[in-house]
Symmetry: D2
Subunit: 352 residues, 4 copies
């Protein structure tokens, strides 16, 4: 359904081009002072038009909070309802999309499931939904920060330039030298060039996002189906275009020997119990061990490309379709704050 | 918690060396005739001692069904309770393990979470738990088979020999030539040699499992947090040692262009609507599109290796620990039927 | 939490005098044409000012639907988000209520639970929340009607005039002569007089509501904790001021002999299997048997009365408090459509 | 489904005459030492044959714990699995019951829902299931006792002799003189005579149970659908034969004036904040206020009486049926510990 979490529950709604999207955040702790400026900055990072690398659709994305927070900006413990109006939803002609299934999109599957669909901008299946998550996640991040938990995420690959496996390896081997996930400037430039090239060709690129969470105390996560990484995986795979999730050393762990990746336990009076290396990615048996937690999310390229492509119409006849208008050359760019938001919601769900 | 699923709910219990493990399968359809012989064969595939490639612990793993099935073997619609006695749970000395944390195991994190743990064979964190899943999953597979859904899984890599990415590529490009997931004999031999070598060295290997599901009709899966692949990811990441999950073209999709991986819709009278290629892995927008569904699960090597390793005791002092007794050189081998079982439970949860 | 239902899930939010109340209806079937006029009529029944018997606060209560329904008023299968703006929420002075606990209200308990509360009109604990339920319930009723399920509810008692037990007895004994729950005009007049008297005295009255559901086919309800009447009880006891729930012959059943209340099974070709009497209230073993379902909900009087009463301030000192403004002499009057709405949501949750 | 609770989750299984009943208690706190003797005493109270007032079926009801508790009887935090073997399940002839629907029983509704049923002793619909609840509830009661929460329950009425309303009135008016729910000896004798008379006539009686919970701190319970009394109502209505639930002044509250039942807040240094009277039954706005919590559960008579009664066979033909064997003249007697057990599980679910 449209709910994430069990104790801190986020339930969302909204079609891309309907009157509004929004959600209900249930279980958020009471007595917490919200920093709305910081929240709006976080939301802005996901917005279209935030850089040359993303779609130029302009949508301010200002959430209106309707409940659960008093006039002083302090949470009441009651559910926080919010909406974001869709300002960019008029006057377009969607009649062609209503008749044709876009390749690799959710058009056909929504039609198969519901017998009906909203053809305007993908309706419910649009990544616009992730704006709701960023709002909820920004609140969770503020609350987690007071508990010492910090989350950072970065675009670690786009198209042929991928740095995500290297990052996992580095985070595994040098757990104490890294508190914020970063990539070399040279790689960053290569990634940006890759995206701009795709943009110029009217094509799109897959990409990957690496996320690092620090400050989670040992003991977070539940056996056996609510392992911390199981929940992270479910959340991350909910992101539009996500095709893979890996944590700690990740998929590379399937190719090594046990003797090569032992995280030896150590103790000192300042750090307490820690491990020398962190191939485990901060999670053992599904439960946090106090070390940094990190993972990759792999996203496919958006199928919305600026070319004429073949497809079917609703009568099963062959036809062609050309996407018009906005074009997001690498959807992973805008998903960077989404990964952070979801990570915050998953961690907070265990801590509230 | 210890429950998987929402409509078909499997709730499990059991420590590795306690009196018994078991579970409750709630929501299983009524009036279904169970094939117990087939069920026992499925359970046996996961058992220790089933081949030279796995641990030689001998445990028959015969589930006793206690409810929900009548004398004729027909399900009543009421919850199916079952237990599997632990026969191999006596006379060992676990006092050393009670005092020391095994590297990369759940010893420390369970202690951190609960303030207490069962040191015998890993207790609740042992992969013995997966026997419960195979029992429940075997029932689900039988039921799904009547609905035309078939699931196959295979060990697609161990240590340096990895065929899993190749398999995802093949399954993406030739969706109609493959109905059962297979690897070339040559690769199979290489994988087996790799495992036997690790076994002889007292070391362990990571591995990967590829799973293929056919016969799922279009329309299965729920937006937005219960996408079919989000649920599969959560289930698969619950497997002990799982470090990564990828579906369709998988992580490789993060490195390609949109124009390279379009699954063009086609129609013919026999197949109905289908796609020429299947980079989407049978799921679009989180909902099945009728094409085969496939994914990889990457497992790390077990940290239980036959060597003396450094660690901490419960008083934070440095010590060493040597694992004795059984040794599973590649835990992915025994996880092959587990992947199938969990896939069946996830799919059935949407179909019951 | 703030969610009702498992398959058809209604999640609500909103403080009485905040910007808006609202909710998300998740799991509503797709392809259903909403009758908005009928919906508004249902919502109006609960509104203040709807008759002389209720509080005169004027609030139009027009829900704005934000998602899940297309321009033709047809449901999409995606979550239906809606809000109701609070128009009557300004310029009042709530500083006294912020400092004092009203007797029998939720002021103290919210403060105890959350350490903070919204003093304006009861905040989240206000019966204004039930407007959300009526909106969601009205949609459910429309959908159920197409399935042949009809629900009626009536005020069956107020203060000393109580007809609710008589109604249960009648509905038990003459199941086929009653399709809509009614009371004699004479009793109706007595109830109204009772309420007007209380109103004139600035006092308030408890009341009871009887609800009848027809057209539910046999087989609805789940053992053992989701019995149909367990779910109805939970929902009805969520109504502000609810103190009791009884179904079928109700509490009187605890005073009779088994031989007096046997519902003998009969069969004829038109009705199929039925029972001669219906002491069971249409539910046996927690599952519907096809007979009409009926129950009472007992509501206490609102503690908001037009008198000076003793209480405590936040510093635990004795003080007095006089309620000003609107006064609802019998809150059960406005709860009549709420009972119907919740009944519809519970039944629909099993049928979607 | 067959699960009670959200954080402390009890999932049960078992047919009355199958191999065993049992359950999984998930979320029970770790590090708690179980008192097994006390647990067995609690379970024995529900057992058949425990007094002349109940059915004489003999079944020892000794739970076997399979997990979640170590050799020292200390909980591990992992799920507690347990089973109770059915020893009394052989050699009977149930062929008549397989063909006929017993009046007011769940025979017909299970058949309607599942298309199949277990005719032996009512199968899943038997009150034997409540033995599972008493096991789980006994653990919860032990844990709650350490937190200062005590629960007592009593048979407060049977047939024409009903003292339950008087009890609610007393508990409302004199909250501080009562710490354990009791009835006068004279009434107790009358109730016993009433039951013995019914027994001699081969008839059965309805009855009522009153429950008192002390020591619950203010702030327990969740708006709006998980109000403390909503959850209690759902749990209590899950008891076989339950027809009504009322808390605080109960249904009588629907007949009084607001001015008559104000619970005035007071404060003293020892008690802290309290109310002079307790018409609210310890719950305001769905959240505990620190005062004692109390409620009634009304149970109908069992329809299993020692007479020939009319009914239908599976071919819809009229037939007669005579119950043989054991006979429980007032099922409320054995439900007394069940009420306590469920109350403990509901309260503990909020406190774990």
């Amino acid at each position: 359904m449209n709910t994430l979490g069990t104790k801190l529950r986020v339930t969302t709604f909204g079609e891309s081009h309907g009157p509004a999207i929004g959600g209900v955040i249930d279980g958020f702790p009471s007595g917490f002072k919200i920093d709305f400026d910081s929240l709006l900055q976080e939301v802005a990072k996901r917005s279209p038009g935030s850089s040359l690398l993303v779609t130029q659709r302009k949508e301010p994305d200002i959430p209106e909070f309707l409940s659960g927070i008093n006039e002083e900006g302090i949470t009441l413990g009651t559910p926080i309802g919010f909406i974001i109006r869709n300002t960019d939803n008029r006057g377009k002609d969607y009649s062609e999309l209503a008749e044709k299934f876009r390749s690799n999109h959710a058009d056909y599957t929504y039609e198969a499931k519901y017998g009906i669909r909203d053809p305007k901008g993908g309706g419910r299946s649009s990544a616009r939904e992730t704006a709701n998550w960023v709002v909820a996640g920004a609140l969770a991040q503020q609350w987690l920060k007071e508990k010492g938990v910090e989350i950072s995420s970065i675009l670690s690959g786009a198209g042929k330039v991928s740095y995500s496996s290297v990052l996992l390896q580095e985070l595994s081997e040098k757990p104490f030298s890294i508190s914020d996930v970063k990539i070399p400037d040279k790689i960053k430039d290569e990634i940006e060039n890759e995206i701009l090239n795709a943009k110029n060709q009217g094509d799109s690129l897959g990409g990957s996002i690496t996320c690092l969470i620090t400050g989670v105390k040992p003991g977070i996560g539940d056996p056996v189906f609510d392992k911390l990484h199981s929940r992270l995986a479910q959340a991350m795979m909910s992101i539009n275009a996500a095709k893979g999730f890996e944590y700690g050393l990740g998929i590379k762990a399937s190719t090594v020997k046990g003797s090569e990746v032992l995280d030896t336990f150590r103790y000192d009076e300042i750090k307490g119990i820690y491990t020398e290396t962190n191939y485990s990615g901060g999670i053992q048996g599904g439960i946090s061990n106090g070390m940094p937690i990190f993972f990759n999310v792999a996203l496919k390229p958006t199928p919305t490309i600026m070319r004429e492509v073949e497809t079917l119409n609703k009568n099963n006849g062959r036809t062609t379709l050309t996407m018009k208008g906005r074009h997001d050359p690498c959807v992973a760019v805008r998903a960077v704050p989404v990964v952070k938001a979801l990570a915050a919601l998953v961690i907070a769900d265990f801590l509230v």
